[in-house]
Symmetry: C2
Subunit: 759 residues, 2 copies
Amino acid sequence: MTSTQGAVGQSIRRLEGRAKVTGRAQYVHTLRLPGMLHGKVFRSTVAHARLLGLDASAARALPGVHRVLVGQDILAVMPDPHYGPAFHDQPVLALDKVRYVGEPVALVLAEDPHVAEEAAALIVARYEPLPAVYDEVEAMDSTAVVHEVLKPAGTFPDLKHLQGKRDTNIALDYSLRRGDPDGAFASADHVFEHRFRTQQVLHVPLEPFVSAAVPGEGTLTLHTASQSPSFVRIEIARLLGWPENRVRVQVPYLGGGFGAKLYIKVEALAAAAALIVGRPVKIALTMEEQFFTLTKHAATLRIRSAVTREGRITARECEVWWNGGAYADIGPRITQKSGFTAPGPYDIEHVRIDSYALYTNLPPAGALRGFGIPQLVWAYESHTDMIARELGIDPVEMRRRNILREGRPQATGTVMRDAAIEQVLERTAERMRWSEAFDRGSGTRRRGRGIAIGFKASVSPTTSVAIVNIYADGSCALYCSTVDMGQGSDTAMAQIVSEVLGIDIDRITVVHPDTDVTPYDMATLGSRSTFHMGNAVRAAAEDARSKLIALAQDVGVSVETTPIGEIFRRKYGMQAGNVVGSGSFVPAYTPTDHHTGQSDNVTPFWMIGATGVEVEVDTETGQVTVNRLVNVGDAGRAINPAIVETQLSGAAIMQLGFTMTEQMRFRDGQCVNPSLADYRIPGILDIPAIIDNERVDATQSSGPFGAKGVGESGTFGVSPAIASAIEDAVGIRLTSLPITAESVLRALREQQGRPLQAD
Amino acid sequence: MTSTQGAVGQSIRRLEGRAKVTGRAQYVHTLRLPGMLHGKVFRSTVAHARLLGLDASAARALPGVHRVLVGQDILAVMPDPHYGPAFHDQPVLALDKVRYVGEPVALVLAEDPHVAEEAAALIVARYEPLPAVYDEVEAMDSTAVVHEVLKPAGTFPDLKHLQGKRDTNIALDYSLRRGDPDGAFASADHVFEHRFRTQQVLHVPLEPFVSAAVPGEGTLTLHTASQSPSFVRIEIARLLGWPENRVRVQVPYLGGGFGAKLYIKVEALAAAAALIVGRPVKIALTMEEQFFTLTKHAATLRIRSAVTREGRITARECEVWWNGGAYADIGPRITQKSGFTAPGPYDIEHVRIDSYALYTNLPPAGALRGFGIPQLVWAYESHTDMIARELGIDPVEMRRRNILREGRPQATGTVMRDAAIEQVLERTAERMRWSEAFDRGSGTRRRGRGIAIGFKASVSPTTSVAIVNIYADGSCALYCSTVDMGQGSDTAMAQIVSEVLGIDIDRITVVHPDTDVTPYDMATLGSRSTFHMGNAVRAAAEDARSKLIALAQDVGVSVETTPIGEIFRRKYGMQAGNVVGSGSFVPAYTPTDHHTGQSDNVTPFWMIGATGVEVEVDTETGQVTVNRLVNVGDAGRAINPAIVETQLSGAAIMQLGFTMTEQMRFRDGQCVNPSLADYRIPGILDIPAIIDNERVDATQSSGPFGAKGVGESGTFGVSPAIASAIEDAVGIRLTSLPITAESVLRALREQQGRPLQAD
């Protein structure tokens, strides 16, 4: 079967490539429907306030305006219009309060989107200001409380104890206790403690949020740019009090997602509006509005280690404050699921972790490529490097002495399996020629090198279901709700079908997500698809294959020697019939103990990524140039090696932006740079001249054909590797992101005893 | 489970009812796509000719015309552009010849359909006339030959011997031989022979033929009003030389079909045009164009019976000539599949049948509700009635003496099972109060009664596949390619799912046909869906149920006492996952022997329908009024009794039109009444004042929950019952359809010795 065109392991071209480059690919933004109204959102201009009243009379009077909806109007179709994957805390439109600048307060509907926009600008709201809190650490015991009462969604058992809790901004306090950290610290040769911070950044998919809702007869269809069609269906059905089968969610191509397009974004508002007015309603946000919809968690991280004089880490204490913004979104899950890897991929006997999800009066934060891991790696790899330098140990050697090896327990107690941490570290050092001489520059142009490694658990337990339908001429279709948002999942999934059934790739169709058609998938997030959906697709294809074998036996031929079309012809007398296989996958999982955070099976697989960088620092300007970027990852065996490599470099470049150029700046909770002119994502001139991407030779034994996810691994090490390379070049250590020319110059001047003036 | 809302046996309302009456239901006619071109067909004005040339210069010069395509252009995308289910005889556009008036010769494409229409009228064709043949009996040995060479499609093994046959109009000569008819005729007490004719009529779905083709990147999507999406996909893929998975066929609601919208109609032309110009192309025919696309077979039938003096029929000889028009379409299948029931539902020892599918220079004839049976019943029930009257035996009693009873062999040798022929006959007589006194009228208003019974085999072997997907809250979807064209199949299929899974009907979604999504189904025709797809749906639902039981066992609960949603929650920890079941059905079948027509298993089930009528004849005008119409059928156990009854009456009323008002009139092969003004379908005033519809208490043991199809049974007996009732009233016997006031008056005048003048 390995000669099949497109089978597993071949770097074939993406299935959707031609449609995208020729402009044939359809997106929700291009969708036009008869009778469709466009919705434009009127947003809060204050960070925290009681909403006393709205004057929409001028908006309503504007010719062409069909309707203006406010929060109370939503109650007509959604009795409790609060949504969210972890907490039911976010109103479809603000009701009694607003909690951040940019929160949706009213919706104008018009046939012309420009009329709707003009009308939205005419709305006036009256507020009674409330004290606001913006900093995640301050939020811990601030008297400014964002939510009066906590309302966990009920889906996550470990949030149940928070039900009804009052007067707190802590949406989740996750803790892990292992061994005797206090004893270890007391008897340590050295104790190191550092504090780090990361800033708010944005996903910036080039396609902003967009949903179109179409009311039917007791049914609703949503066309939406979503990474989680199954979740959208279930959540909208819950809000409406309908069974799942009456809500249909269709997802065409996505113009990027990166975690932004998960759960409910504009879907609930579009759905409610469409049902209220009885016409199709489309809500397409602008690029600016993305800044008011979802961000990446800013975080403050404190990390403290007990270390022997030989450089062995014996204990580590981590405290992490996650700035969740005004609504929890999936933040509590980040706090917990990522929190337990806060000590890093090191073999440390005594561990204490406290990780807090905090409400603040900023735009909500959610999942963004890495799901909290880049923030943690920023802290623990900067910290590890600082210890190594302090102890005079080579940073790679320091890591070798502590690395978490196969068969050893991680902080949760889960024993490491199929995690090529050591291999990734060593291979990164080799590609960096770490042991060889390095040109360190001279004069005002100094060069340095840095390396960093991170790891991530997969979110668990989650479920994927797939259907494979073989047609009577031996071509086939895969029905699968994984959303191809540019990561190449359609291609990889089709390759798994190709491998199992021996069908060439151009005879395999991947049916795009449509909840009436493609079966359940938890969501396209956390690099889970290759593993979870890959296993479901493999099972579905194997189920189809076993039915095909039975069909062949039925007509007295062998499936090995008879073309599929011939088997059907013999059975049905003509080109007729189908063979339908289905497969479902949910990995085994042991929930973590609520008090100790311990679990003997905390994840179905581990993702490992390391980055090495060579930088050049201009000591006169503080300008940092990354000359070389080496990304090494463990993706198990690659389904499509070329796609794996673009995932590694794409993730690293994205994190490069979060490290050096991107930052949402706030004044009194108001984002002051909400445009791509003022918020700078990496341009082609920011890309390192040399980028090396490499998969280590590894296998995820529980994955489909040995594969596992790799969409985030490239992000892990980038930020600390750059900070360490800068220290290596010029001897300054930056502990707060982003690393801008100004922050470097400021540190250099302080090092030289001639500080820059503050702003 | 029987308390489930919507389970089998309940007369629930149709699922699509609200969408249709509120106007929300979408049809292909309402589809608009960006960049779409409209195609208008230029048609032949001669019945049989060589096509010497076309002048489309004026059409091309008309502002707004995008392109004019002729037959040769099609070759660019379809190397051999001939299609058809039985013969590959029909060109997408005429190539070297035209074979009937109305044949598509060129296609004009424009953004405005009116411009396309105007341009099509400017095209001029040059022809060299060829001798034409219109009558089916004359076609047997006419020197006018419609097709030089026969090209069977290869799908039907019994057509293979015709491959390459030349200089014949006989597309299929089907024969059946049983016992010793010659001997029986030689020794008969009586021999009766009669000859009958039926006219060309039309399906007249209120939605004319329409298809829209959308080219993709090496793919093609067809939105089409088709009864056979799976066939369209396979046939278009064959024409293009593509695998099935690159052609997607989607079918929304249909505005009626009745057999017209089977196989390829405008799909191949739309597909070729879209691929040639690289833009979406829609071809929507007018009502007039339906008259040039597909008709019902006119037929001439000769029937001869040997009868004892007690009225037992000992031998029967049937000869049937089917007027297939210029292209075979499914005519050869009608000739054979219906042909073998030509002697009627009677227990006759010695049988000879010859049934001929003939090419003529008329518009192609194909399947129309009844698939040839109403033509046959017209002959054999008129004949039976005439024999009874001749022998002085009551017509019902005559039938009792000969009826084909359970366990007795039919003409093919297949033993009758689950065929309630006797019960249907007796129940019809009862509902007609046959044994009671009847007011026979007086003066110029005379009344009479007639009864007739027919039966039909199902087309076999055919395949259906279904998928049932249970969602995590216990609602579900059925994926099924049966086309709901108004017959209520969506509702019936959902009821089967409801019955098996105990899910209320409003929690079941039926996904409309889409070949990328809904699995294979041979087609929605011949009343096969309830039985074939019903069995596949039942199997799919049972497969899903067994997987649900396994899931419940897995989490330690019982499926009987635990709500479905709770089983999922226990398994997946939240509202997540699906259970997918699939089912496939193809009945056992023994092909008929090529020489004798014998088979021990010729059909998976039998359909039986009888009609009784009371008529009043105005002897001064010939006007016939049907005062009462009694329709009795064997539908096995009804899935939805209300729908079964509307099928019985709908079919009977349709056949009433074919009996009394409808007739395509031709002059030199040109239909001269191609409009609903001149071709009169029954209006409300033509509907009998009393219509009784009744299912007998019967069971199809091999059907889903005892059910079988009933969409055609109401058509069977209508025509001969009316003719017999007229004889009963006024003593004249009409043997040619339609029965118009003029034909009745003409016969009355001849009876009175004062014939009307000819036209």
